[in-house]
Structures are given as C-alpha cells and as structure tokens.
C-alpha cells in the first residue's frame, strides 16, 4: 500500500511537470507550428519520418537510426560529457577543500 502511494506521488509529480511543459511549449510555439507539422510513419518504416530531408526528422538522421548496430558515437559523446561535468564538479570540490584547509592553517 505504501509503495503504491509512493508510486502515485511520483506519477502525479511527473504528470504535473509534464503538463506544464507541454502547455509552455505549445503556447510559445503556436506561431511556427504549422510549418513543421508532418505525417507520422505507420510503424513499418513508411511515411515521412525516414530522414530523407522531406519529412519530420532532419536530413541524414532517420535511416541510420532505424538500422542495426553502428559505431557508438553517441555513447562516447555521453561518456565525454559526463566526464567533463564530473571533472568540473570534482575540481570545484577539491579547490573548496583546499581553500578551507588553507584558511584554517
């Protein structure tokens, strides 16, 4: 019962945040919306979202995303971005500790 209640809290919080974002994006984008509205693919690889430049996705993206396993550039990018963020955080923490030690010495 407790777990169901907690899951409900998480889902309600997520729904509220999601609804606010949806409303905000739709409100701010109402003027330029129609230019980008396109047909949706039917789930069998047909439709406009095939990445050929005339559909919803930017040119050159769709076909490769649909295919099998390729070079994991996105995973490498993820590692690099996370490492940079983690490195900056660690450097800030290290500098903070060093200055604290210097102040007490």
């Amino acid at each position: 019962m407790n777990i169901i209640f907690r899951v409900l809290i998480i889902l309600v919080a997520a729904s509220i945040i999601g609804a606010l974002m949806y409303a905000a994006v739709n409100a701010s984008d109402s003027s330029g919306l129609s230019a980008f509205e396109e047909g949706r693919p039917d789930g069998n690889g047909n439709g406009d979202g095939d990445g050929d430049g005339d559909g919803f996705r930017p040119a050159g993206e769709g076909r490769r995303e649909r295919g099998g396993f390729g070079f994991p550039a996105g995973i490498i990018k993820a590692f690099v971005l996370m490492s940079i963020a983690g490195g900056i955080y660690s450097a800030i923490v290290w500098a903070g500790k060093k200055s604290k030690r210097a102040a007490t010495a």
């Binding site: 739709n26 980008f36 949706r40 919803f56 769709g62 995303e65 396993f69 940079i84």
Partner: protein, 162 residues
C-alpha cells in the same frame, strides 16, 4: 553489505548501461532506443522508491539543518527528474516506433524534436554531476560487493553523503 545497498547498486549499474545504449539511437536503432527509454522510466521509479527515505529526510530538513552538500544534491536530483520528464515527454511526442506500434498517433511538432536533443544533452551533464556526487558510495559499494573486507562500509559512505 546490506541487501538494500546491493540491490540499489545492481539496479543502478543496469540502468546506467541501458541509459548509455538508449542515448545512442544510431547505435541501437530507433525501436530499441524508444522501447528501452520507456522501460527506463519504470526503472527510474524503482530507483526513487529505493531511495525514498533519503528523499523524505532531506525534504523535511532542507531549509532547517541539511548540509550544503545534501541541498545541492537534492536540487540536482530535482533537475534530473524534471529533465528526465522533458526527455520522456518529448520522446513520446516524436515517437516513430513505439507509439505507432501501439496504434497511437500524435500531431508532430518540430519543437519537441529540438527539445528532445537539448534535454538529452543537459541530462548527460546532470548525470555526470549526479555520478560524481555519489562517487564515494559507488566505489565503496562496488568494493564491498566484489572485494569483501573493505575498510569503510557502504552505510558509512551513505551517511557521509547526507
């Protein structure tokens, strides 16, 4: 090591590996990217449930006697949660495999595609900060899991974070 810490660590490792695969739709293919990301939503709920006590404790004493580190961690976790919702929402709205397979079609909006990319990049930065804030716990718990007889307990590492 407590069963709770072990299950937390194993879940987090599994979720992280799935997250890395999901972050690269060109590597995995669009269908795996979408279905794996939807599954990750459920995993995040389990992650929150496993850490519920910490969330409640820090929420209660956020403005009273929480340490600065815990406050920063708390705010960072909220940012991760909000950004995660934005990724899921925009991903659902631009879905080309999962939703059409369920027979659901939604009106397209290019703004969601841009938001999906931007929020995914922001999520990587926030995830890097999240991991570095919990690095002591990760290393200590991994040592406890694979090398018995570590000096510092995982519980002590958790206490240190609080």
């Amino acid at each position: 090591m407590s069963a709770s810490n072990r299950s937390k660590l194993l879940l987090d490792i599994g979720a992280f590996l799935a997250f890395l695969i999901a972050m690269d739709p060109r590597f995995s293919g669009l269908a795996i990217h979408e279905w794996l990301s939807l599954a990750l939503g459920a995993v995040i709920i389990v992650h929150l449930l496993l850490n519920w006590e910490w969330i409640v404790n820090v929420t209660k004493r956020l403005f009273v006697k929480a340490k600065n580190g815990a406050r920063v961690n708390y705010v960072l976790n909220w940012l991760l949660f909000i950004d995660g919702i934005l990724i899921m929402l925009s991903g659902i709205l631009i879905s080309e495999a999962a939703l059409p397979a369920m027979g659901i079609t939604l009106p397209m909006n290019f703004a969601w595609r841009r938001l999906h990319d931007m929020s995914a990049n922001l999520f990587l930065v926030l995830m890097g900060l999240h991991l570095s804030m919990h690095w002591n716990w990760i290393v200590t718990t991994l040592k406890r899991l694979f090398l018995s007889g570590g000096q510092k307990t995982a519980a002590a590492a958790v206490k240190q974070e609080l």
